[in-house]
Amino acid sequence: MSNTTDAFLASVDSSERAPRVTGRAISDEVMLETHDVNVYYGDNHALHDTSLKFHTGEITALIGPSGCGKSTFLRSLNLMNREIKGCRVTGEIVYEGRNINTKTENLYELRRSIGMVFQQPNPFHKSIRENITFAPKRHGLKDKDALDQLVEESLRGAALWDEVKDKLDESAFALSGGQQQRLCIARTLAMHPDVILFDEPCSALDPISTLAIEDLMLSIVENRAIVIVTHNMEQASRVSNRTAFFYMGDMVEYGETEQIFQRPNDKRLNDYLTGMFS
């Protein structure tokens, strides 16, 4: 079975999937929401008063020029900002009916439910199988059959199973960039998260792999909320239901993707979309 995503695309019969609705909101159920979140790096007030809602079954895109705060905001959703020295996050982040932005929140449990995929594919220096089983094992899952099942389930979910099922015990680094990123997604899926955060997941990939990842996102969003930070406006309009536009630390406009791209209200958003700055 060839490695390229041509093969992958060919192997996916599009009629198996129900047509995905993008561009419009499709759900009222809120999985995760924030109220007036501010982020400070030391004295630098990087993000101001951001309140957003993320709905189940929807993909929300965060767009905006470099340095506008969208990645900063994303990283506060799974409390990853806490790992940075000198970083302070204020405001409420509400998940499962409680504010998780507290000192008593169990980070280790929370990050199983809110997963993250990063810009650079970052598989571990282990085999493909071990990449997926590493975290579940450390969280207590020991049964071998359950682990094997988890591996297959996650790799199928990431549309990678057919390509790697014969080499699960080979190193993850032997895979191509696009495959590695799908492995990272599979790794995250293995934790059975309710929310998946994507931080510019395709910026290190070629266009074909990018489309594959986008298709993948659309296929795993059922019963989950997905938030994606992207520099690529076309990507945002392709995959997301709602979009939020950030500018210089403020969340400026938020709405259904179709409205944001075709009838932007804010002038700065309009300028951004027409390419006056990026």
Partner: protein, 303 residues
């Protein structure tokens, strides 16, 4: 390993274990400084040796008693001067060679430098000091004997040459790092203005790397000042004020090796040796302080 343990506690365990190791090391260092200082200072406070006499007196002989004071002769000036002499001379010999080699390796032939020169320098770093001393004893001392027509050939000169060889790799590798850290754009800017490569190196690269180069030199001096066995084997061990470069002499470290195990702990002689140790430690700390000051000044200059 810790599947049953909640992750919070696991993290606390990790923090405690690693923190304990760091605490242990810190404690040991503090204990060392305290112990050396306490014993070193007791020479003056407990045994009654005069500070002035210690640092300016020119007779050092722990076996004899000074009739006037009832204490052994503890004039450490010859030792101090010899220590500084070998340090300074060895640095003067080594620095031009080290920096010259570093310039060649970084600016002129980087590929050659990486492939052939650097492994050899790393080898030089690894050679034990006794081996340096042995070569110094058989080759350099013999050469001094022949060239200057003296009987022994021991003294500050062979000591400085041996030390220069020992600190050469230290200064060279640090100088190489210092030169590599100079941004390429500096060089390109200079060459684009029409300067030759050598002019660029002299006026631009070296000037820019000066703080780091000075740090390299001082670290070399630190190592030279504290080196013990190699110096011991070629310097002679006679604790007199050296009259010339090829008179048998003794550095602070030399005296420590010859006399340390001889006198009982707590005796005046032993305490005097600890004072020498305190001196050694103090000089090392001063060198480190100077390096920090250079670093801070350099950082400020770069803004």
């Amino acid at each position: 390993m810790a599947k049953q343990m909640p992750k919070r506690n696991l993290e606390k365990v990790g923090l405690s274990v690693t923190g304990a190791c760091v605490a242990l090391v810190t404690l040991v260092v503090v204990a060392l400084i305290f112990m050396v200082a306490q014993r070193g200072l007791s020479t003056f406070f407990k045994d009654g040796v005069s500070v002035l006499e210690f640092f300016t007196g020119t007779k050092w002989n722990l076996a004899q008693t000074n009739e006037a004071t009832g204490l052994p002769f503890t004039g450490a000036l010859p030792l101090i001067i010899t220590s500084f002499a070998v340090t300074i001379f060895s640095t003067v010999i080594a620095v031009p060679i080290a920096i010259g080699a570093a310039i060649y390796v970084v600016e002129i032939s980087p590929k050659f430098g990486q492939k052939y020169f650097q492994p050899l320098i790393e080898l030089l770093v690894g050679i034990p000091s006794v081996v340096f001393g042995l070569i110094g004893f058989h080759v350099i001392v013999r050469a001094v004997r022949v060239i200057f027509n003296v009987e022994l050939g021991l003294g500050i000169l062979p000591g400085s040459i041996v030390l220069a060889l020992m600190i050469l790799p230290t200064i060279t590798t640090l100088a190489i790092d210092a030169l590599r850290a100079v941004p390429q754009s500096y060089r390109e800017g200079s060459l684009a203005l029409g300067y030759t490569r050598w002019q660029t190196i002299w006026h631009v690269v070296l000037k820019s790397a000066t703080p780091s180069l000075m740090t390299a030199v001082i670290l070399g001096m630190t190592r030279a000042f504290g080196e013990t066995l190699a110096v011991r084997m070629v310097i002679g061990g006679v604790e007199n004020m050296p009259a010339g470069l090829i008179d048998s002499a003794s550095t602070i470290t030399t005296t420590l090796t010859t006399s340390m195990a001889v006198y009982a702990t707590g005796s005046v002689q032993n305490d005097a040796l600890w004072t020498l140790g305190l001196l050694l430690m103090g000089m090392s700390l001063i060198f480190i302080l100077i390096i920090h000051l250079i670093g801070a000044k350099g950082a400020k200059a770069r803004g």
